[in-house]
Amino acid sequence: MDATTKKQLLITATKIRMAVIEGTYNAKSGHPGGSLSIADTLAVLYFLHMRTDPANPGWQDRDRLVLSKGHTAPALYGALALSGFFPVEEIPTLRHIDSHLQGHPDMKGTPGVDMSTGSLGQGISAAVGMALAAKLDGSDRRVFAILGDGELEEGQVWEATMFAAHKKLDNLCLIIDNNHLQIDGTVEEVNSPYPIPEKFVAFGFNVITIDGHDLDQIESALTAAAGYKGKPTAIIQKSVKGKGVSFMENQVGWHGTAPNKEQYEQAMQELKAQLAKYEEA
């Protein structure tokens, strides 16, 4: 990608991270860690790769994104708001009783949300159904599903994976956010899903492994997936839970904890510094 595009995406990814902190701080709850680890991926998807129209969120031939790891909704809301699906000013209403920004994505309440998710392992099946529908329609629209690495412990993931490969749904692209951490510890400690690439290869997928914080790698993987015929693709992105906020990085405790005022200020200070750096570049 060219330098201007990259600069814009770096700025956007940082703004998504700021939305995560802003939202969870104001909600006094939520899941910042796994939201921060997918911010770069969402920036590339919504601002470069996916075919969407924020003015027409129900457009039948749009690409779809299912956030199967639905608890990381704060990042999705950041990406959707920055894209123009709803006002950025609504971000601080996350999880409030009168807000349409639910704790987990609600397709009926929030423009741009393609599937209601939150119960792990379920989003991927819906994404498979959407990919099947696109094939039936003879449409070239694509379907993306973002899953956590801990989520791979859900048996339904493998039911869905088996079916997607069996039906050769090459319009389906899974993104596995391999940030190594789940609620009770590291994925290796709790119930190891490793080795992840080999499992997806065995299940009949085209597998691409990337650094989930390298925008060039994200984009080239998505482009490669779009061009790959006959098999669905699984992009396994190595990522850092809490990425971008120093004290949240690689900390299990930041899975489902909101920052307090002091932590909020420090996090925003760090992100603003990153933003200034990208804007000046």
């Binding site: 039948q60 779809r64 299912v66 609600d106 397709m107 009926k108 393609d114 599937m115 209601s116 939150g118 119960s119 392992g121 379920q122 989003g123 991927i124 099946s125 819906a126 994404a127 498979v128 159904g129 959407m130 990919a131 099947l132 529908a133 696109a134 039936l136 329609d137 048996g155 339904q156 039911e159 869905a160 088996m162 079916f163 069996h166 039906k167």
Partner: protein, 316 residues
């Protein structure tokens, strides 16, 4: 008396899918390795390009159905009641119910009339489970004719529906004059002393029970309640007011099904005795279906006994 024709509602389900397919080009059918038993095999033969076997993975099937429905398809997802409502309960709740997607769940082999396969496959909890999901419509047709009518009606429904069908061939009660409407009970017989509200294969038993009662000089009203949710509270409360005693009859647990729904309605608005005939909070067992129905009290004789009990209660 005319000869009794028997047909399983699952057969009518399979035929209806084929019949509706031409009219609805967006209709697709999913199954999970039970096509021969659920009768979606009929659709598979006629429209192989619109049939998808998900293999033995009911949870995934419900999610795929949700994704298809979210993309504008008319979807039937089919398996046994045990797996549709039981195994995949949370997928139905979260992926279909919460977003209120118009997925039609075709659940066959409901109740103990599954027969020889025994308790693991005899689902008597599905209505109770599905009733708790907000916005879920539940239809349990009494015969093949009502199945066909209900199938046509649900195509226009903008929300999830749980269609409950049986394995056993049961008497065909209705003819082409049947006016089926989702959410409306049908009064089959007038009566003043007691009302029998029945659903599914228990409707023909209810009719037989009314005849037994008639022989004893008791006038029993019979209502066919195919739609269990939303319940036709109007016809229930009218019966409560006019007959002051109700018996419910269903091939389902006495907990949380039709009996529960009727009792809840009556208790809150017009309390009269409600006696429930159903599977009495026990698991099923292997055996021939007709023998099992008798063994578990799902019979005209038991309904008639319970009707007399309800009448006694209202008079005491």
């Amino acid at each position: 008396m005319a000869e009794i024709i028997k047909k399983a509602t699952r057969d009518a389900y399979g035929e209806s899918l084929v019949a509706l397919a031409a009219e609805y080009p967006d209709l697709v059918v999913l199954d999970s390795d039970l096509a021969a038993a659920t009768k979606t095999v009929m659709f598979r033969k006629a429209y192989p390009d619109r049939f998808f076997d998900c293999g033995i993975s009911e949870q995934n099937m419900m999610g795929i159905a949700a994704g298809l429905a979210a993309s504008g398809k008319q979807v039937f997802a089919s398996t046994f009641a045990m797996f549709a409502a039981g195994r995949a309960f949370e997928q139905v709740r979260n992926s279909i119910g919460y977003p209120h997607l118009p997925v039609k769940i075709g659940a066959t082999h409901a109740g103990i009339s599954v027969g020889e396969d025994g308790a693991t496959h005899q689902c008597c909890e599905d209505i109770a489970l599905m009733r708790t999901i907000p916005g879920m419509t539940i239809i349990n047709p009494a015969d093949a004719v009502e199945t066909a009518a209900a199938m046509r009606a649900v195509m226009k429904l903008d929300g999830p529906v749980y269609m409950r069908f049986g394995r056993l061939a049961v008497p065909v009660i209705f003819d082409d004059t049947l006016k089926f409407e989702i959410g409306k009970g049908i009064q089959i017989k007038e009566g003043n002393d007691v009302t029998i509200i029945a659903t599914g294969l228990m409707v023909s038993e209810a009719i037989a029970a009314a005849e037994l009662l008639e022989n004893e000089g008791i006038s029993a009203r019979v209502i066919n309640m195919a739609t269990i949710k939303p319940l036709d509270t109007e016809i229930v409360l009218k019966a409560a007011k006019e007959t002051r005693a109700i018996v419910t009859a269903e091939e389902h647990s006495i907990i949380g099904g039709l009996g529960g729904a009727v009792a809840e309605t009556v208790c809150e608005a017009l309390p009269v005795p409600v006696v429930r005939v159903g599977v009495n909070d026990v698991f099923g067992r292997s055996g021939p279906a007709l023998d099992l129905l008798k063994l578990f009290g799902l019979s005209a004789e038991n309904i008639a006994d319970k009707a007399k009990q309800a009448i006694k209660m209202k008079n005491s």
